[in-house]
Structures are given as structure tokens and as C-alpha cells.
């Protein structure tokens, strides 16, 4: 069976077995999305956006939709992944919501947080107005695939001038039950005028399985609102992960995105934002750490549509073994977007001779009064800091480990959630130095 025929069969089966549940517009949306996916097919490396990343391994594996099944996982199993147990959290196991492992009752009454399934029952018109409004699938096969097969996810609506103080944690645990499965989680965040929320979306693995996570997040940041979105991809080395985050920003709106990627055999992370209102601020930072035969690809796209917006990007990668990293940072500045202030920095540290990185900054600037810079470096550790540490008695091996951590620390420092920053600093420190950060 060809890869597309596999998904056609899956789609037909899903549509008859409950896929038709929910409001009437949903099956129609799914059908449009599936038709589009079928027409597009999986992207090939002839597609400019996928030039350095072949998804043939994903297509070949013919992942199947999982049937709903009760999980045996307990609170103790997921406890290690709770960055801060006091946060509101929604826990999904293999894409299925687990109310017993979740806790988000203490949110302000005005703030709506629910699963997508519940939102489709409780406020279908509202969901219809937003779902798919940002994550267009005309040219995005994986987004089309997600939309066609979407099972569940999270819907967040923060009303005008509401601030959610503690981060909202969306934890996706994938376990051995997901062997051969495709999981299509969805996240929709709508932050109304002058509201604020931080969302931590985390993908982890408990027990190895070869599976596909194909996640889509849509984030609306209205005038004066602030949304921070942290995406942590810490899956196992047999996993495949495609994640797309699409944001839109109004006037004076701030969107801060951070992508941490260290798992999966092959991962592709798309972070896109459109600055539609004046004085918007976008900050897209990220860190990827790969080894062995891992492949990690990040594509960012900042569209400056309105005047006087600022965008800042800092992406770093640390590559060991025969791993392959890709960074493609696109910035578009519309003719109307005068006074744009854009800065993009991309740095990769190669720890082995075999590791490879392809980096492609793409600036398309159609306004004349703008300040846009980009810089990319690929290299090894500098000799002078190594000598400095060694001259203090620190062994060459430990000096390298410490400087590798320091390379990562520069971008981790930008994480504004203290517990999360500390969690990642500890993890990265232990990864390279094999000792605990005090």
C-alpha cells in the first residue's frame, strides 16, 4: 500500500467510527484537510521548505491512528515530567486526554481551558471561528494531516485583561502503546486584548516506541496581549516529530516562543508568527541538542506586516555523533512595515567531525526604512576559553563539557519561567558534564 493509500484507508475508517461526532462543520473541515493532504502528498526535498529534510522515513512507516484505550500510567509515572506540580496541567497519554492525571480546576472562572473535545461540545461556534484560522493547510501537508485526523487537544481562551499567573502545562506522554501510531495533537490559544498567559507544551516518552507526533498549535495574541509558548520536544530516539506553531499578533502584542528539541530520530519544528499590529514584539528562541543519527530541523518565519514591530531570534544547536541539524530562518518585511527592527542569530556547535548543519537565513525586505540583521555561525569550541579553563587545572574533557554547557546556557537564560529555566539548565548541564548542577 502506498503511503497515501494508507492514510486514505485510515481516514475512511476514522470517519465512520466516530470521526463524524461533533458539530456538522467539523467533518467537512476534516474532509477538506484530508483532500488537501492527499493532493499535496508528503513534502519532498524538491520542496524548498524541505530541502534539507527528507520525510521519507515518516511516509514509509505508514503510521496508524490509535484506537482509544485506557492507560495504565499513574500519577507516579508522570510525576518526573511535572516541571512544577503547582502548575495547572492537562495530561495526554498517546494523544488521549487523561483527566485523572490532570489538574486545572483552580483557574480564574473567566478563563476557558478545556480539551478540544469538550470545547466542540460546549462552544462549537467559537471553536469553528478559530480552529484552522491560522494553521492554513493549503501548502502544508502535515498541518492538513493533523486537521484531517485531529482527535483531541487543548483550547484556551483568555478574555480581555485577564492574566493567568501560573503557566499552563500541556504534557503529552507517549508510551510503548504508541508503537506504529500517528498522534495529531492540537492546541488553540486565543488571548484577547491585554491578557496574558504562558503555555508550556511538552512532549515526552515513557518506554520506547516508533511513532509520529504531528502537532499543530494556533495562537492568537490580540492587541496588547502577551503569550509565551514553550515547546519541549524530549521524545525517544525512535520517534518522529513534526510540530507547527502559528501565531498572529495584534497591536502592541508580544509573542515569545521557545523551542527545546533533543528527542526524536527526525524532528521538524515550525515556528511562524505574523505581526499584524504596530509595535508588536516577537521573540523566537530555541535550542536543539542532537547526537547519533538524529536529525533536527527548525524553520522560523516572522512576517512583519505592520509598522514598528521588533523581532528577535536566537537559535542554537549542539550536534554530536553523525547528527544533522537544519535551521531555516525566514523574515518577511511588507512594504507597509516601515521601522521594522529585526535581528536573527543562529549558532551551531559541532562536537564531532561527522555532525553536519545546514543553515539558511532568508530575508525578504520590501520596506526601505528598516533595521534587519542576521548572523549565522557554525563551529567548534574556541581555543582561548579552553586554554583558560585548562590553565586553572580543569581537564580538557571537563573544560569542553563546561564550555558546551555555557554555549547552551546563553539561550536558556532567555527563559522567563524560573522553574522551567532551572529544569532545562540542569538537564543540559547533566547531559554534557555528567554531573549535577548545584
Amino acid at each position: 500500500m502506498s503511503p497515501l493509500a494508507n492514510y486514505a484507508e485510515q481516514f475512511a475508517a476514522t470517519a465512520t467510527a466516530g470521526g463524524a461526532e461533533g458539530p456538522a462543520w467539523l467533518p467537512a473541515l476534516r474532509q477538506r484537510a484530508f483532500d488537501r493532504f492527499h493532493a499535496l502528498g508528503f513534502p519532498t526535498t524538491r520542496n524548498e521548505d524541505w530541502h534539507f529534510t527528507s520525510v521519507t522515513p515518516i511516509a514509509e512507516r505508514r503510521f496508524k491512528t490509535l484506537k482509544p484505550a485506557p492507560t495504565a500510567l499513574t500519577g507516579a509515572d508522570v510525576a518526573p515530567f511535572l516541571i512544577d506540580p503547582s502548575w495547572h496541567r492537562l495530561v495526554f497519554v498517546n494523544g488521549q486526554f487523561e483527566p485523572g492525571l490532570s489538574q486545572f480546576a483552580g483557574l480564574p472562572a473567566e478563563v476557558h481551558v478545556s480539551t478540544l473535545a469538550e470545547a466542540l461540545r460546549e462552544r462549537p461556534e467559537w471553536v469553528q471561528a478559530h480552529l484552522g484560522s491560522l494553521a492554513a493547510f493549503d501548502d502544508a501537508a502535515f498541518t492538513a494531516l493533523n486537521t484531517a485526523f485531529v482527535q483531541d487537544g487543548v483550547v484556551v481562551h483568555v478574555p480581555v485583561e485577564e492574566t493567568v499567573d501560573t503557566p499552563l502545562h500541556i504534557l503529552h506522554v507517549i508510551d510503548a502503546q504508541a508503537q506504529g501510531a500517528a498522534i495529531h495533537p492540537r492546541l488553540l490559544v486565543v488571548a484577547d486584548r491585554a491578557s496574558a498567559i504562558t503555555v508550556v507544551e511538552q512532549f515526552v516518552e515513557l518506554g520506547a516506541s516508533e511513532h509520529l507526533v504531528n502537532a499543530v498549535a494556533e495562537i492568537v495574541v490580540a492587541d496588547g496581549a502577551r503569550v509565551a509558548h514553550y515547546k519541549l520536544q524530549r521524545e525517544g530516539s525512535a520517534a518522529y516529530h513534526v510540530g507547527t506553531v502559528q501565531a498572529t499578533q495584534g497591536r502592541d502584542a508580544a509573542f515569545h516562543s521557545f523551542s527545546f528539541a533533543e528527542g526524536a530520530a527526525l524532528s521538524r519544528t515550525n515556528i511562524y508568527t505574523k505581526l499584524h499590529g504596530v509595535n508588536g514584539e516577537a521573540r523566537l528562541n530555541g535550542l536543539y541538542l542532537i547526537d547519533g543519527n538524529q536529525h533536527a530541523d527548525h524553520q522560523t518565519f516572522v512576517e512583519h506586516i505592520a509598522e514598528a514591530c521588533a523581532s528577535r531570534e536566537l537559535y542554537k544547536g549542539i550536534l554530536d555523533g553523525s547528527s544533522h541539524g537544519v535551521f531555516n530562518g525566514k523574515v518577511y518585511v511588507d512594504p507597509e512595515a516601515q521601522k521594522t527592527d529585526g535581528k536573527q542569530t543562529n549558532k551551531a556547535l559541532l562536537l564531532s567531525e561527522q555532525a553536519r548543519v545546514d543553515t539558511k537565513p532568508q530575508l525578504e525586505i520590501f520596506a526601505d526604512d528598516v533595521k534587519c540583521t542576521h548572523g549565522a555561525t557554525v563551529g567548534r569550541l574556541d581555543a582561548m576559553p579552553l586554554f583558560y579553563l585548562k590553565s586553572r587545572g580543569i581537564s580538557a574533557e571537563n573544560a569542553k563539557a563546561l564550555l558546551t554547557y555555557a554555549f547552551a546556557a546563553e539561550v536558556l537564560e532567555t527563559i522567563e519561567v524560573d522553574t522551567l529555566r532551572l529544569e532545562l539548565e540542569r538537564a543540559v548541564f547533566a547531559r554534557f558534564t555528567h554531573t549535577a548542577l548545584e
Binding site: 590553565s391 555555557a406 546556557a409
Partner: protein
């Protein structure tokens, strides 16, 4: 303690040290002076094991060992310390972690037990006083965003913690105001013991008002052209270097 014999060293194709011979005994302070480009800093860095220089001839014997056979970290573990002219910034690694890592590696090399962070705090408390540094400096990244004076003090703090047998101060006075100079010099003096030695590399005599040398050597063109007592430094201050540099017979 240190015997340098006919040392030649190059950076790339350029020979910088052209036959240095120098003997330093425990308890002594030696000043190496000379004009810019004379090779003073190169000599300091070659002693510490800087990878950018190649020793093409000559020997350095340190406490009975062939120093040139040792890696930079082994030299440090054996008690050699270089206070850098331009201390390196390491954003992301705290001063506290860096110092403890260095301290423990040196202890480990001597078969002594490592100190945990709490035990190390006690060591630090005492050493911070030597250079009049605030404990808050320990939580900042190594040299990152430090002023010139703070960086130099941080070098002397490291020296205080690591307690070297042979300390080489490379232009530690450059860029210091008079207060910072006094603090740094007093720190060095407090660390002086009968069983350690200090090499002070400097362009100016100023530092030697505070750290009084037993011997002064003038380096020019990669060679020691004159050695003497502390009065030589005063003479250089008064007359400059030119009188020494005139070719013989001119």
C-alpha cells in the same frame, strides 16, 4: 624552582622568543619588563602552556619536571598559575562553579578529597577578603560583564584559591586605576610564601612600587638584554627603554 634554558618559541612562522635563559628560586619575585612586542607576554603564556605557541628549542625545568612535556591542565595541577592579561569571559558558567571545579581538579590530582559546594563556601569566604570582593561576584558568570578592575581582581582571587607555587602575572596592572592596583598588589603580597615564587610581567614600573621584586629582567626582541635588582626598574622608569635598545657600538 624554575630553570629556563635557551628558550625559543614561535607563533606561526614568527619567532618571538629567541633564546631566553632564566632561573627562579622559591621565595623570589622576578619582574620581567620590556617594551611592547618584546615577547614578555609570550614568555608568560609559554610557561602556562598556551596552545598558540610552539617551542622550537630550549627547555623549561619546573620542580625537577620537564614543564614542556605537560599539558596546560597538568601544569596548573603541578602549581603553575597564569594571571591573564585579558581574562576570558565565560557567560553561562558561574564564578562559584568555575572556581570549585578548578579547586577540586587540583585537589583530585593530589589525591585529596573534593569539597562540596557548602565546604567550598568556607574556603571562598576567606579568599574573597584577599581581593576585597563581594560574595555576590560568585554567582555571576565568569568575567562576563566584569569591569577591567573586576576581571583582574578575579584573576587574583583564582590565584588565592588555587594557591600556586609559581604565579605568573601577565600585565596584571594594565587598565587598573590606582585603587584596583593597590588591591591587586596587596592580594599578591598576602599570597607570598617562602615556598612559592612570582613572575611579574609588566610594561610599567608602577606595579613594582607595590610588589617589590628581587630581580628585574629587561626583555627586548625576544631576549633578556639586562638583569639587575629592583633599582633597575627605577632606572627604566626614569630613562625609558631606549638607552638599552641602542645597538652595541652605535
Amino acid at each position: 624552582m624554575l630553570t629556563i634554558t635557551n628558550l625559543h618559541a614561535s607563533a606561526g612562522d614568527k619567532e618571538i622568543l629567541k633564546g631566553i635563559s632564566l632561573t627562579i628560586n622559591a621565595g623570589e619575585v622576578h619582574a620581567i619588563m620590556g617594551p611592547n612586542g618584546s615577547g614578555k607576554s609570550t614568555l608568560a603564556q609559554v610557561i602556562a602552556g598556551h596552545p598558540g605557541y610552539e617551542v622550537t628549542a630550549g627547555t623549561i625545568e619546573y620542580l625537577g619536571q620537564d614543564l614542556l612535556e605537560l599539558e596546560a591542565e597538568e601544569r596548573a595541577q603541578a602549581g603553575v598559575f597564569l594571571a591573564f592579561q585579558y581574562p576570558i569571559e565565560i557567560p553561562g558558567v558561574t564564578n562559584a562553579y568555575f572556581l570549585r571545579a578548578a579547586y577540586n581538579e587540583i585537589r583530585k590530582a593530589h589525591g585529596q578529597p573534593e569539597l562540596d559546594p557548602i565546604e567550598f563556601l568556607d574556603v571562598m569566604e576567606e579568599k574573597l577578603k584577599v581581593v576585597e570582593m563581594d560574595a555576590s561576584m560568585m554567582q555571576r558568570s565568569v568575567n562576563a560583564g566584569f569591569s577591567g578592575g573586576e576581571k583582574k581582581r578575579n584573576e587574583i582571587l583564582q590565584m588565592a584559591v588555587l594557591a600556586p607555587k609559581l604565579a605568573v602575572l601577565d600585565e596584571t596592572d594594565s587598565g587598573l586605576d590606582i585603587d584596583a592596583l593597590r588591591i591587586v598588589a596587596e592580594g599578591v603580597n598576602k599570597l607570598k610564601r617562602p615556598d612559592n615564587a612570582t613572575i611579574v610581567v609588566t610594561h610599567y614600573q608602577r606595579l613594582l612600587n607595590y610588589i617589590v621584586p628581587d630581580h628585574v629582567h629587561v626583555l627586548a626582541g625576544g631576549r633578556i638584554i639586562k638583569s639587575g635588582g629592583k633599582e633597575l626598574a627605577l632606572e627604566l622608569e626614569a630613562k625609558g627603554y631606549d638607552w638599552l635598545l641602542e645597538p652595541v657600538g652605535a
